[in-house]
Every structure is written in C-alpha cells, then in structure tokens.
C-alpha cells in the first residue's frame, strides 16, 4: 500500500458489505492488514472516484447462502487433477449443466489413494446478480471466494502452523460461525443463531464445540484445538465453559485471538461495527495475496476472459515496443558504427593527402623500374646458350629446329634433331651435362624412321633449360 497524504494506492484490496450495506475495505501495508470503514458503497465509490483510494484488483466474497458445498472423494494425485475430474462429476452433484454454474474446490484431506475434495458450486446467474451490487459502484472483482473460505483463511493467518483438528469459532452479534479444520484444510462449517442472553449463547456455543470435538476425536486421538474470536465478554464465557467441561474423551486447548479493528479512512479511532465483515475482508485479502489458488476463485469466466484479453493486449504491446526498441537499437548501433567508420576514413584520408604529394609517384617509378629490369635481364643469354649448344652438340647429331622461350626467368630450349643411332641421341644428354649454362637435357621423344634409300635415321626431341638467378649464375 502506498499512502500519499490522504491517498491510498494498492494492487489488491478486499471488500465486504455489512447487513446495513456499509463497506469494509481491507488493504495490506507494512506487513499488516488495515480495514477501512465506509458508511455505504456509494461513499466507497466516491472515494474511488476522488482517487483517495486507488485499487488495481478487487476481491469480494460470495455469501454462503449462494454456495452449495459438496464433498467428493476422487482418485486424483493433486487438486488440479481433481478439479478436472470435478467437471465431469458436476451433473451428479447439482442438477445443472457446467455452463450454468461456477465452481471451485479445495482439498479436505487424503485417504489412501483418494483425495477428498470440497466443491463450492454457485449458480452463474445468482453470482452475476450478487456482483451487480459491486459493479454499480464501479468495482469489477478479480477474485470471488466463498465467505467461509475467507473466514477460515483469516483464522489461519492469525494462528499459524496449526496441526491436528481445529475448531475455529467466530462469535458475532447475531450468529456464531463454527469452522472445522484439519491440518489447515477446511472441513466444513456451521452457523449458530445467537440470542440476547450472553450466558446462554456461550453455553450453546461451548456445547456445540464439545459436540464437534467428540466427533473429531472419534477418528483422531489428539487434543482438539479451539480458536475463539469475537466480543470479549462472550469469548471469555465460552472459554470458561470449555475449560469447565468434564468430558474424559475430549481434551481441548483453547486459544483466543483478537478480532480485527476497523477504522475510518484517515482516522485512528476504532469503529464498533463491522468486525465480522472485517474478518471476511482480511481473510479474503490473505487468500488473494497468498499462494495463488486459482481453484478457489469463483470469478465468472467472462470477467477472467476480459482480464486475459487485457493481459494479452498488454503483452502484445510490450512485445511490440520491445521489438521496435530492438530494431531502433540495431539501427542506431549500425548508424553509430557507420559514422565512426566514416570518421576513421576521413582521418586516414587526411593522413594520406600530404604523403601522396611527396610519395605519390614512387609506385609509378617502381613499376617502370621493375619492367625495365625485366626487359634488360638476361641480355645476351640467348646468344650464349646457342653458342654453348653448338659446342656441346656431337658431330653425329644434326639439329633441325630450335625453339627458345622464356617462362618467368627460366629460358627453355626445345630441340628437334636427327641422329644415326638411338644411343647417339641419348649420349647427347651426357654431352650437355658438362655445359656451363645449359641444364640437364632430357630426351622427350625419340623414334627410328626408315630412309627411302635404305637404312634408318633416329628423330628425337629434347628439352633443356637455362635458369638465371639474380646474380646471373647457373643454378
């Protein structure tokens, strides 16, 4: 709860109406609940309109008169599975179709592999009429829970970690509510009408509690815990009667809890009325703020559908905004990177500009130098190679063709020649071995061809190379 001067802002608030249509609103702040008292629902609507009270989500109770309570045992592992089974069990529980009712369920206990479930069933149109009262004040609840569950939740919130069977007693002005609980699971409830005589009322309540206790101890051999809340004089009378009871079969442990106080918004003095409704509102708030129990929420489907649609729209909007932001971020990153690159390019260009003036022609000169060096390299080498070839060629061999080509820096000489004998052609390679420039000669082809005049001649092809290094020496 956020309080700004006289303004209260909260995400969750519960609302309960008294018989005189006074509204009790419960909000939570600083770890404790605060119940606010409004003279009427219209006054609450006015406070909402004036924004002195701003609530995002409302929780209201469904009165027990509207609620049909059924106990069923189902072979379910958990409450969710049981709830799915209850949907099929509904026709056997009430003579109404599933569309005509709203239902919720809670766990009552487990017996071996059977889960005992309490099913709360309300006719949809009756619930809609009940909620119409709140709608007229501009309140569309997000949570509707049976008032007995709300009261049970309040008792659990004020007496934590209860073990074993417990009877919760809320003594009001005109009626007393008895709620049976086991291991914090709601078992059932009973309403006792109260008269004007406090002593008689206390006797009646104590008798009923002992009666309940006898039933519970028949199955569970543990002491019964009784939690009392209500007007102090009545509660002390009931406590006295319970302590005075001499039943050897029933042992009771009595705990008295203070009832919640109700104040006017912005005031400190306590209101005398509306304590019972404050209990409902506080319990309902505990249900709303505690662990999510969707199966105890009896809000009609239409209300939730609207909420889900709203949630879907909000989520779609969030995704859209995030996507746009992502695209914008990506675009911005690229734009920033491009700007940085443009700056870097400009910097490099600025560095290049003065150097170009000084060293701009060096590359042109270097390229020309290289090509001239290539042109002038190995000058005279062809003549030298031919001269050496002439010297090395044996007398028995005649050369008919010669091809000189350059491949990179290596000069290749292809020779076509004739010899009288095949061994003579191959001896040519030995003769060249001693040469200064010519590299090892290879006979690549040789064949003996008959002459027209008789005899034969050997025609051969040979290849040798002259490779020049930088110093011009033979490798």
């Amino acid at each position: 709860v956020v309080r700004k001067s006289r303004c209260i802002r909260t995400s969750w608030a519960s609302l309960s109406l008294t018989e005189q249509r006074q509204a009790i609103v419960c909000v939570k702040g600083n770890g404790s609940s605060h119940c606010l008292w409004f003279e009427s629902l219209e006054e609450l609507a006015g406070a909402l309109a004036r924004k002195t009270l701003v609530v995002r989500k409302w929780a209201v109770t469904a009165p027990r008169e509207l609620c049909i309570l059924k106990s069923v045992s189902l072979p379910a592992a958990d409450l969710d599975e049981a709830a799915r089974m209850v949907e099929f069990e509904l026709p056997s529980l009430v003579p109404l179709s599933a569309e005509e009712v709203v239902y919720g369920c809670t766990v009552a206990g487990r017996q071996e592999n059977l889960l005992r479930v309490l099913v709360y069933i309300i006719k949809a149109d009756a619930l809609e009429r009940h909620l119409q009262t709140y709608k007229s004040a501009g309140i569309e609840p997000r949570r509707v829970s049976p008032d007995i569950l709300a009261m049970h939740a309040w008792f659990l919130s004020v007496c934590r970690h209860l073990q074993g069977p417990t009877v919760f007693v809320w003594a009001g002005t005109s009626a007393c509510h008895l709620m049976m609980s086991d291991e914090e699971n709601f078992q059932g409830s009973q309403v006792l009408p109260l008269g004007a005589d406090t002593a008689a009322n206390a006797r009646e309540i104590a008798r009923e509690v002992m009666d309940r206790g006898r039933r519970l101890t028949a199955s569970v051999p543990e002491p019964i815990r009784v939690v009392l809340a209500g007007p102090p004089e009545l509660v002390s009378c009931v406590e006295g009667h319970l302590h005075a009871s001499e039943d050897p079969n029933v042992r009771v442990e009595v705990t008295v809890v203070p009832r919640p106080c109700v104040r006017l918004p912005g005031a400190q003095e306590e209101q005398p009325d509306g304590a019972g409704e404050a209990v409902l509102a506080a319990g309902l708030l505990e249900l709303s703020l505690g662990a999510p129990q969707p199966l105890t929420n009896l809000v009609p489907r239409g209300y939730l559908a609207k909420e889900q649609q709203h949630l879907l729209l909000v989520n779609a909007l969030r995704v859209g905004i995030l996507s746009v932001l992502l695209v914008a971020l990506l675009w911005g990153c690229l734009a920033a990177a491009n700007r940085r690159l443009a700056k870097a390019c400009a910097t490099v260009q600025a560095q290049i500009a003065p150097i170009v003036k000084v060293a701009g022609g060096v590359d042109r000169k270097r390229q020309r130098l290289r090509v001239i060096q290539r042109q002038l390299a190995n000058r005279g080498r062809i003549a030298e190679a031919i001269a050496e070839l002439y010297e090395c060629t044996p007398k028995d061999i005649s050369i008919s063709a010669l091809d000189v080509t350059w491949k990179q820096d290596t000069m290749t000489i292809d020779i076509k020649g004739h010899a009288d004998l095949l061994p003579t052609a191959f001896e040519y390679t030995n003769a060249v071995r001693e040469a200064r420039l010519l590299r090892a000669m290879q006979i690549v082809d040789a064949q003996q061809i008959p002459k027209a005049a008789g005899g034969s001649v050997v025609e051969f092809k040979a290849r040798c190379s002259v490779e020049e290094d930088a110093s011009g020496k033979k490798r």
Binding site: L334, L341, C345, Q367, L369
Partner: protein, 175 residues
C-alpha cells in the same frame, strides 16, 4: 471460426513478414553501408601503409629511376611508338644478309604506368646472320627483349628460317 492454431500461424506469419520487411527496409541498407565503409577503410589503410613504405624508399627509387628514365621515355601515341620500334628493328636487320618473310604487329599491352609493344618477325638467312641479329637486339640501347626465338633448318646447309617475338617497353602516355 478461427482456431487457436490458425490464429497462432497468422500471428507468426505476420511477425515473420513484418520482421523481414523491417530488416530489408531499415536494417539491410545500414548493414550494406557498414560493409562498404569497412572495405573503404581497409583499402585506405592499405594505401596509407603502402605510401608510408614508399616514403622510406623514395630517394633510392628516384636515383634508380633517373638512370632508366631515358630508356622508357614516351615519344607519342601507340602508332608513333610502334613506328619508332619497327624502325629500330629494321635498322638492325637491314645491315644483315637476311630475307624478311613477315613483320607482324601484336596488340599493345597496356599497364597502369607503361605499355608493352610486341612485334613478331619471321626471316630467313644464314645462321650466322640470325645469331648476329639476336646479338644486336640484346645489345640495343632501347629496352628490347626477345620473348620467343625459333629456328628451323632449311634444305640448304646453314640456311635457316627464324622467328622472333620482340617486345619493347615505353612509358604510358600522359603519366
């Protein structure tokens, strides 16, 4: 009535189309620009490094270039250069006792800062004159080079048929 799956498919399809459209129209041009700028920056850095390296060797290159500059000087357009080149060759073989069979001009190879002129010559004559022609080319003051040289024997002794591919380098006009 639309089922949940149809709605999901429609939403996914719309999201994909929208996403693709946004990427194509908004992101892709920026990405392309980024890529182009990266290439430009790289090229500029390479150019800068090269220029800085050139700066270090500038004096040595200048000295060497001064020596070869007369060899590579540009005397005009392609036609004028080819004319001068063929004249140089004819001056060489006219002194020899050879018979020219053909002189073929090959396409000029254009580089950034120079041109390579090529001429293919076929002649026949005594082997001694052919070798002398080779020596004359290789000793010529101009940057001439014999790229290919071929000799084929003829029926008469020491008479040969020779072919030459001779090249010459000249500076690119205007550079």
């Amino acid at each position: 009535m639309k089922t949940g799956r149809q709605t999901l498919l429609a939403v996914v399809t719309a999201a994909v189309i929208l996403g693709t459209g946004i990427l194509t129209l908004v992101i892709e041009p920026r990405r392309q620009e980024h890529k182009a700028r990266m290439v430009q920056l790289h090229d500029l850095q390479v150019k800068l490094a090269k220029l800085q390296a050139d700066l270090l060797v500038r004096n040595r290159i200048d000295e060497m270039y001064k020596q070869i500059e007369p060899l590579i000087k540009n005397t005009g357009n392609d036609q004028q250069e080819i004319s001068a080149f063929t004249r140089e060759l004819s001056d060489l073989y006219s002194k020899l006792n050879v018979k020219m069979r053909s002189v073929k001009l090959l396409p000029t190879v254009r580089e950034e800062f120079y041109r390579l002129l090529s001429v293919k010559i076929e002649m026949q004559g005594h082997i001694r004159d052919i070798v002398r022609f080779v020596l004359l080319i290789e000793a010529h003051a101009s940057p001439l080079r014999i790229e290919q040289f071929g000799v084929k024997a003829r029926e008469t002794t020491d008479e040969v048929h020779a072919s030459f591919l001779v090249t010459k380098v000249v500076a690119e006009s205007g550079s």
